[in-house]
C-alpha cells in the first residue's frame, strides 16, 4: 500500500487503485490503530467513502479536480469543516457543528482532497502533549507510554501510525513542528500569512498558522501548494503569486554554496539532551558532506522568546476565547440562574485547567496598570527577536537547530509543572514571533530511548522554497526514513 500523497496520487492517476480502495485501506488501518493511539476525536466513515466514490467517478469521467483528487488528509480539530463538529478538543464546543468551511478546507475540496477525520489536540491548541484534550489522550505510535507532542499531537500520531497519509495541524509556538519531531514525521510551519487563517479557531491570532504534517518533504510541499494563497476573508493573508513548491522538488538540490546558520544561543544552553544533540550534530555533518557551509550566527534576544510568547499568546487568547460563553452556541450551564452565573458556570465547566490558566494570564497582562510592563514589553522583545533573525539571515540561507531539547515526554511527565513544559518550546517559539517559516525533519533516533529526533530548519519570510529544497536534499540523501 502506498503511503505518501505523491505515491497515492500517482497510483490513482495511473488507475492502479481507486480512491475508495485508498480510503478503505486507511480506514482499516485507523480501526486497527485507534484503540492504542487515539489520534482522532471522530472519523465519519460514511462521509469519507461518499467523497471517495465521487472522486473515483470524476476520475473515470476524466474530470479530476487535481492530481490529489481522492486522497485523504486528516484535519486538526480546530479547523472548521462544514457539517462536522469542531470542538477544539474542548467540552465547551463539543456540540458545535461548523456552519462553514475554513478556507483551507474549501481549497482542499476544490482539489478533491478528502477531509479524513478530526484529529485530537490539546484543548484550543494550548499544550505540548495532547494530554489537555477533553476527550482522549493520544499516544505516541513509536512508544505508547509517551506523548505524541502537541498541540497537533493527533495529526502527527495519525500520520506516524499510518492511519492517514497526511494531516493539517496548526502551529502557534511549535504545535506542528514539535509533535512532528516527537513522532518522527515532517511538520512545516509556513510563513505567517501564507495560509489563510479563516476557519482556524484562533488561539493567538498574530502567531497561528496552519501547515502540513506529512511523511516526507514532497508531501509537505504538495499539501502546502493546495492550501496556501491569498484569501480576501483573512486581512492578514499575504497577497502573493507563487509557483508550485512541489515542482521545485523534482530533482534534489545541490547544497554547494548553501549557508546554514547555527544560532550559538540554541546550542549553548542547558537542558539540551545529549542524545538529541548528537543526532543534530550528525545532521550538521551530513549537510557539510553534501557541500553546505555552516556559519555561526547569534540571536541575542532569543532568551526572551518564551516569556514574550506566553505574554502575547495568552493576551490574544484571552480575547479570542471570550466568545465561548454559552449564549449563542456551545455548552451552556443548565443550572445557572442569571447572566453572570451563566458565564461563570458555562466557562468554568466548559474549559479545562490549562485553558483557564492561560485566559487568566492573558487577562492579567492586558489589565490596566500591567499593560506596559507585560504586553508592551513583550511586543518590544518581539521586535528585537525579529531583528535578530533578520540580521542572522543576512549571513545565511537557512538556520538549523534541534526542534525540541528532548525526545517525546513520558505521559504525565509535566502534569504538575506547566512552566517546564513551556520552556521546552524554546527552539520553535521564535519563528512564530517573527512570522518566519520552519520545518521539522526526522534526523535519527536517540541512542538512549530510541525515540525519533527532529532537526529544525528555519527560513526567512516566504523562504519556503529554499527551506523545502534543502530539506528535500537532506531527506533524499539520508537512508533514514522509518515508519
Amino acid at each position: 500500500m502506498e503511503k505518501t500523497l505523491h505515491e497515492i496520487s500517482k497510483s490513482l492517476n495511473d488507475g492502479a487503485v481507486t480512491s475508495v480502495e485508498v480510503c478503505e485501506a486507511f480506514l482499516g488501518k485507523t480501526e486497527q490503530m485507534e484503540p492504542s493511539i487515539q489520534a482522532f476525536i471522530s472519523v465519519d466513515v460514511e462521509k469519507i467513502l461518499k467523497m471517495a466514490v465521487e472522486a473515483d467517478s470524476r476520475r473515470t469521467r476524466g474530470d479530476s479536480l487535481s492530481p490529489l483528487d481522492g486522497v485523504p488528509v486528516a484535519l486538526k480539530d480546530n479547523i472548521m469543516e462544514e457539517g462536522s463538529v469542531c470542538s477544539c478538543a474542548s467540552k465547551i464546543l463539543s456540540n458545535v457543528t461548523s456552519p462553514y468551511d475554513a478556507t483551507v478546507v474549501a481549497k482542499m475540496r476544490a482539489a478533491g482532497i478528502i477531509p479524513f477525520g478530526r484529529a485530537n489536540m490539546d484543548e484550543f491548541a494550548m499544550g505540548s502533549t495532547c494530554e489537555n484534550s477533553a476527550f482522549a489522550k493520544t499516544a505516541n505510535p513509536r512508544d505508547t507510554t509517551r506523548v505524541p507532542g502537541g498541540s497537533s499531537g493527533g495529526s502527527a500520531a495519525a500520520v506516524a501510525a499510518g492511519e492517514v497519509p497526511a494531516a493539517l495541524g496548526s502551529d502557534t509556538g511549535g504545535s506542528i513542528r514539535q509533535p512532528a519531531s516527537f513522532c518522527g514525521v515532517v511538520g512545516l510551519k509556513p510563513t505567517y500569512g501564507r495560509v489563510s487563517r479563516y476557519g482556524l479557531v484562533a488561539f493567538a491570532s498574530s502567531l497561528d498558522q496552519i501547515g502540513p504534517i506529512t511523511r516526507d518533504t514532497r508531501d509537505a510541499a504538495l499539501l502546502l501548494d493546495a492550501i496556501s494563497g491569498h484569501d480576501p476573508k483573512d486581512s492578514t493573508s499575504l497577497n502573493l503569486e507563487s509557483a508550485s513548491l512541489a515542482d521545485t522538488l523534482a530533482e534534489p538540490m545541490d547544497l554547494k554554496g548553501i549557508k546554514i546558520g547555527l544560532p550559538k544561543e540554541y546550542f549553548e544552553r542547558d537542558g539540551l539532551d545529549a542524545d538529541v544533540e548528537k543526532v543534530v550534530d550528525e545532521a550538521i555533518a551530513k549537510f557539510k558532506d553534501m557541500g553546505a557551509e555552516t556559519v555561526a550566527v547569534s540571536l541575542p534576544h532569543a532568551e526572551f522568546a518564551v516569556a514574550a510568547y506566553y505574554v502575547i499568546a495568552t493576551a490574544e487568547a484571552s480575547a479570542n476565547l471570550a466568545r465561548f460563553d454559552g449564549i449563542r452556541y456551545g455548552q451552556r450551564s443548565v443550572d445557572a440562574l442569571d447572566l453572570m452565573e451563566t458565564y461563570l458556570k458555562s466557562r468554568g465547566d466548559g474549559f479545562g485547567e490549562e485553558v483557564k490558566r492561560r485566559i487568566l494570564l492573558g487577562t492579567f497582562v492586558l489589565s490596566s496598570g500591567y499593560y506596559d510592563a507585560y504586553y508592551l514589553k513583550a511586543q518590544k522583545a518581539r521586535t528585537l527577536i525579529r531583528e535578530d533573525f533578520e540580521a542572522a539571515f543576512e549571513k545565511c540561507d537557512i538556520m538549523l537547530s534541534p526542534t525540541t531539547p528532548t525526545t517525546a515526554f513520558k505521559s504525565g511527565e509535566f502534569a504538575s509543572d506547566p512552566l517546564q513544559m513551556y520552556l521546552a518550546d524554546i527552539y520553535t517559539i521564535s519563528l512564530n514571533l517573527t512570522g518566519f517559516c520552519g520545518i521539522s525533519l526526522p534526523a535519527g533516533n536517540s541512542a538512549s530511548d530510541g525515540m525519533p529526533v527532529g532537526v529544525q530548519l528555519m527560513g526567512p519570510a516566504l523562504g519556503e522554497e529554499k527551506l523545502l529544497s534543502v530539506s528535500h536534499a537532506f531527506e533524499t540523501s539520508t537512508v533514514y526514513t522509518q515508519y
Partner: protein, 480 residues
C-alpha cells in the same frame, strides 16, 4: 451672574450608511425580521475573521474632513473587551489610541428655547472620531430576554466633542449642526428613532470661575434631541440644588425618563472600567497617503455653512431664508436647480419656504419625492413675472401641480386660467363694477382712496381672478 459654570461634552454614535456591515457582507439594514441579517462573522462563530468595510472607513474620514479634523495617516483597530450578551465576541473591534480623525471643530448656530433669540455663533471642538462595530439589540420580556443580532457588526462612528458646551441650547444646536453635516455628506440619516444617532451627555457643574471640573455625570437613554435638551436642563437644576445643599455629587450614570421629565440613577461608577484594549491582531494597521486623503477631500460636498453663505452672496437671500433652505441638502439642491432657471431667485426661495415645504409637510413627503420638479417651479414663477398669470392663480396652479403633476403651462391651458390682459375685456368688467357699486364710487370721489382696493377686489372677482391686476388698477384710477 450664574452661580455655577456648566460644562457639557457629548459622545455621539452615528450609524454609518453602507451596503454591508463593518466586518462581514451581511446587509446593513434597519427593520428586518430579527436575526435574519446574520452570518458566522457577525455572530462571533469560532474561526471567523473580520474584513474591514472600506466604504465605512471612507465615510468616517469624510466625516472628519467635514468637521475640520486632522486625518490620521496611520491608524489601527483595537479590541475592547467586556462581557455582554449583545456583543457576539465579548470584545468589540473599536479604535483606542489611533482613531481615524482627531482635533476638529464645528460652528454651531441655532436658537435659545426660552426666548427664540438666536444663539451666538460658537466653535465646538471635536476631540476625535473613531469607527467601531455596533452591538446587537436586546429586548427584555417578563421572563426572558431576546437578542436581535441584525444590528450587531454594523459600522458605527463615535464622535466625541470637547467639553465646550455650557447649556442645553448649545448641546441641541451642536447636535442639529452635526446631524446636518452627516446628512449632507450622506454619511448617515441620523434618524434617532431608527437608532442611527445615539447620544450620551457628560455634564458637570462647578462654582463660577473655578478652574477644576466638577464631578462628571453621564446621561443615557436619550431618545430625541428634544429629550436631550430637557434632560440637560433638568440635570443642571438637579446638580445645582445638590451643590447648594452642600451634598457631594458622586460620579454616576443617570438615565432619562421622558414621561416623568427627570433623570434617575442607573449606576455609580466606583472605578474606571478596564476594557483591556490591545491592537486587533486580525487586522493590519490602516495607512493613508496625502493623495488618498485628497481624493476623499475632492468628493467632499460643500458644508451647510459654506452653502448658506454662498446662497446669501450669489442669490441675494436673507440669512434666515438661506438657513431654512440649506437645512436639508436635498432642499438646497432643489432651490439651486430652480433658482438658476429663474430671473428672481428670491422669489423661488419664497415659494419653496412658504408653499413647497408646507405642502411637503402636509403630505408627509420628502423633497426627494416632490411631484413638482424644480424646473416647473421656476417656470411657474416666470409666468407670474411675465404677467401670464397672477400670483393668486399661480398658487392655484401650484396646488394642482403638487397634487396631480403636470407643467404649469399645461394646467393653465387646461383650466383656462390665462390672465386677461385684453383692455376692452377689462374695461367692461371695470364698468360693471362701477355701475354696481355707486355708493363706493361716491366715497372714492370724496377722497377715500382706500376704496380703490375694494374695486380691485370686485373686478378680480368678476374675472374669476384672471384679470391683470396692474391693468385693473390703472383703468379704475382712470374711470373713477
Amino acid at each position: 451672574m450664574e452661580k455655577y459654570d456648566v460644562v457639557i461634552g457629548l459622545e455621539v454614535h452615528v450609524k454609518v450608511r453602507t451596503e454591508s456591515k463593518m466586518f462581514c457582507s451581511c446587509a446593513n439594514l434597519y427593520g428586518a425580521e430579527p436575526n435574519t441579517l446574520v452570518c458566522p462573522v457577525c455572530m462571533g462563530y469560532p474561526g471567523v475573521l473580520p474584513v474591514p468595510n472600506k466604504e465605512a472607513i471612507r465615510k468616517t474620514v469624510l466625516a472628519g474632513l467635514m468637521t475640520s479634523c486632522d486625518i490620521s495617516k496611520f491608524s489601527k483597530f483595537d479590541r475592547k473587551s467586556y462581557f455582554s450578551p449583545d456583543m457576539p465576541k465579548n470584545y468589540q473591534i473599536s479604535q483606542y489610541d489611533l482613531p481615524f480623525c482627531l482635533a476638529g471643530n464645528i460652528l454651531i448656530s441655532g436658537k435659545r428655547f426660552s426666548d427664540r433669540e438666536p444663539l451666538p455663533e460658537k466653535s465646538i471642538g471635536i476631540t476625535r472620531i473613531h469607527l467601531e462595530e455596533d452591538v446587537a439589540k436586546s429586548t427584555h420580556f417578563p421572563k426572558s430576554s431576546g437578542i436581535d443580532f441584525n444590528r450587531a457588526g454594523g459600522p458605527l462612528m463615535e464622535i466625541v466633542s470637547e467639553p465646550d458646551m455650557t447649556s442645553a441650547d448649545e448641546a441641541y444646536a451642536y447636535l442639529t449642526v452635526l446631524k446636518r453635516i452627516m446628512r449632507y455628506a450622506d454619511i448617515s440619516n441620523c434618524d434617532m428613532e431608527k437608532g442611527e444617532l445615539r447620544c450620551d451627555v457628560n455634564i458637570s457643574l462647578k462654582p463660577a470661575g473655578r478652574k477644576e471640573f466638577g464631578t462628571k455625570i453621564e446621561l443615557k437613554n436619550l431618545n430625541s434631541f428634544r429629550s436631550i435638551h430637557r434632560a440637560i436642563d433638568h440635570e443642571i437644576a438637579r446638580q445645582a440644588a445638590e451643590l447648594d445643599a452642600g451634598a457631594p455629587l458622586s460620579q454616576e450614570t443617570r438615565g432619562w425618563n421622558d414621561d416623568k421629565g427627570s433623570t434617575y440613577l442607573m449606576r455609580v461608577k466606583e472605578t474606571e472600567s478596564d476594557y483591556r484594549y490591545f491592537p486587533e491582531p486580525d487586522l493590519t494597521p490602516i495607512t493613508f497617503s496625502d493623495e488618498e486623503i485628497d481624493a476623499i477631500r475632492a468628493e467632499m460636498p460643500e458644508t451647510p455653512d459654506a452653502k448658506k453663505q454662498r446662497f446669501i452672496e450669489n442669490f441675494g437671500l436673507t440669512p434666515y431664508d438661506s438657513e431654512v433652505l440649506t437645512n436639508e441638502k436635498a432642499v438646497a439642491d432643489y432651490f439651486e436647480k430652480a433658482a438658476t432657471k429663474s430671473s428672481n431667485p428670491k422669489q423661488i426661495a419664497n415659494w419653496i419656504i412658504s408653499e413647497l415645504l408646507r405642502e411637503l409637510a402636509n403630505s408627509a413627503n420628502e423633497i426627494s419625492e416632490c411631484p413638482v420638479p424644480p424646473a416647473n417651479l421656476a417656470e411657474l414663477a416666470e409666468l407670474i413675472n411675465k404677467g401670464t398669470i397672477s400670483g393668486k392663480i399661480a398658487k392655484q396652479v401650484f396646488t394642482e401641480m403638487f397634487q396631480n403633476g403636470g407643467s404649469p403651462a399645461a394646467i393653465i391651458e387646461a383650466k383656462g386660467l390665462l390672465q386677461v390682459s385684453d383692455s376692452s375685456a377689462i374695461e367692461s368688467l371695470v364698468d360693471q363694477a362701477i355701475t354696481e357699486n355707486q355708493a363706493q364710487v361716491e366715497q372714492y370721489r370724496t377722497g377715500n382712496q382706500k376704496v380703490l382696493q375694494y374695486f380691485v377686489g370686485q373686478v378680480m372677482k368678476l374675472s374669476k381672478g384672471k384679470a391683470n391686476p396692474q391693468m385693473v388698477v390703472a383703468m379704475l384710477k382712470e374711470k373713477l
